[in-house]
Symmetry: C2
């Protein structure tokens, strides 16, 4: 069975909400509630869940703890995954200490920058290195995810290096689309484009 990207994304969100609900001590949640939280209809949510061979809780909705556990196992979302950040400008350093990553299963274990002077000035508890050591460190520390926070010009080059170094996934914050070899998952997060989308969207609404 081949889940669509939309389905995977919704399930990831659901996982996040289950995590929050669990901490709040909520025991059951209905497809209707989940639908509101992820921004979809209850039908869609139930369909998504049914692709997983629905766990079969009923009457009160899904049992938060066991459902979260099930999802966690299915998508291996519980085991901590190691990530590194390349590019330690304003955004990169902000990301280095982004608490939410740690909170939810991801661990930033290294930072890289090509400016060696900058590396010495950075104050953080996370080890930082010159980009030239990327492959070496990715290998030594079993890093699975690369987060690109370099300027547009060097984004593709870093993506190539990450791919060569053997990461499995890349999150790209630079404002250009990167291309990666088959088999590596990547997501482009372009802030400017998001703003453009919002602007274009509300221009369209008026018509």
């Amino acid at each position: 069975m081949d889940l669509s990207d939309n389905t995977i994304e919704r399930i990831c969100k659901i996982f996040g909400y289950l995590h929050a609900l669990e901490k709040k001590g909520v025991d059951f949640v209905s497809s209707k509630d989940l639908a509101k939280m992820v921004g979809a209809t209850e039908y869609t949510i139930r369909k998504d869940i049914s692709f997983l061979g629905g766990p079969g809780y009923t009457r009160k909705g899904y049992e938060v703890r066991s459902f979260k556990k099930e999802l966690g196992q299915r998508f291996q979302l519980t085991e901590k995954r190691k990530a590194c950040i390349i590019g330690l400008g304003r955004l990169g350093t902000a990301l280095l200490d982004y608490e939410n990553f740690q909170e939810d299963g991801f661990e930033i274990v290294a930072g890289f920058d090509c400016n060696v002077n900058k590396i010495e000035r950075i104050r953080t508890s996370i080890d930082v290195f010159a980009v030239s050591r990327l492959a070496e460190i990715v290998d030594a520390r079993n890093i699975e995810l690369g987060i690109i926070a370099v300027p547009a010009e060097s984004a593709q080059e870093i993506a190539d290096q990450l791919a060569a170094a053997g990461v499995k996934g890349i999150l790209n914050f630079s404002p250009v689309k990167i291309s990666v070899p088959e088999g590596i998952v990547h997501v482009d997060m372009d802030f400017t484009n998001a703003l453009r989308f919002i602007a274009a969207r509300f221009v369209m609404m008026k018509k």
Copy 2:
């Protein structure tokens, strides 16, 4: 004619690439080239463009300058839009000085934080205020877009305040889905969820 979100998003990306191509001095671009750049097929791109009542250039592809101008006018992407950032932690301050916003039609004209001591310490060329003055400043400076960079707990409250203050669009970086009144466009950008998606995606690929 009602463009789908996918179409709008692709067109925004196209606009971004046209901008880059123009600066490089490229005169023509084909649907095939654009397709590669935005990550879609040439058919989809041509269809998207045809929804706009295609400009009708042929043989060598689309003429970069006039096509960009056309899109810019159509979606009002050329006029500078004013934005503000709420929450001046690591991420918020990084965003304050994010050069790419300025580069491409967006201008951050104010920052807000509820911690008054923090406001006094921040060193930036952009004016910063206490959150209590949000409505006043949004109104006075004609701010159209709000960028939320506060912790999850206060995200919805800030979204409500932004909506009440009259912004037209919201870009939300906090890791919870916010809900906004009808008529306001918003996009959630959840970093942790993006990483989760990548992780889940490559787990699924193996199967």
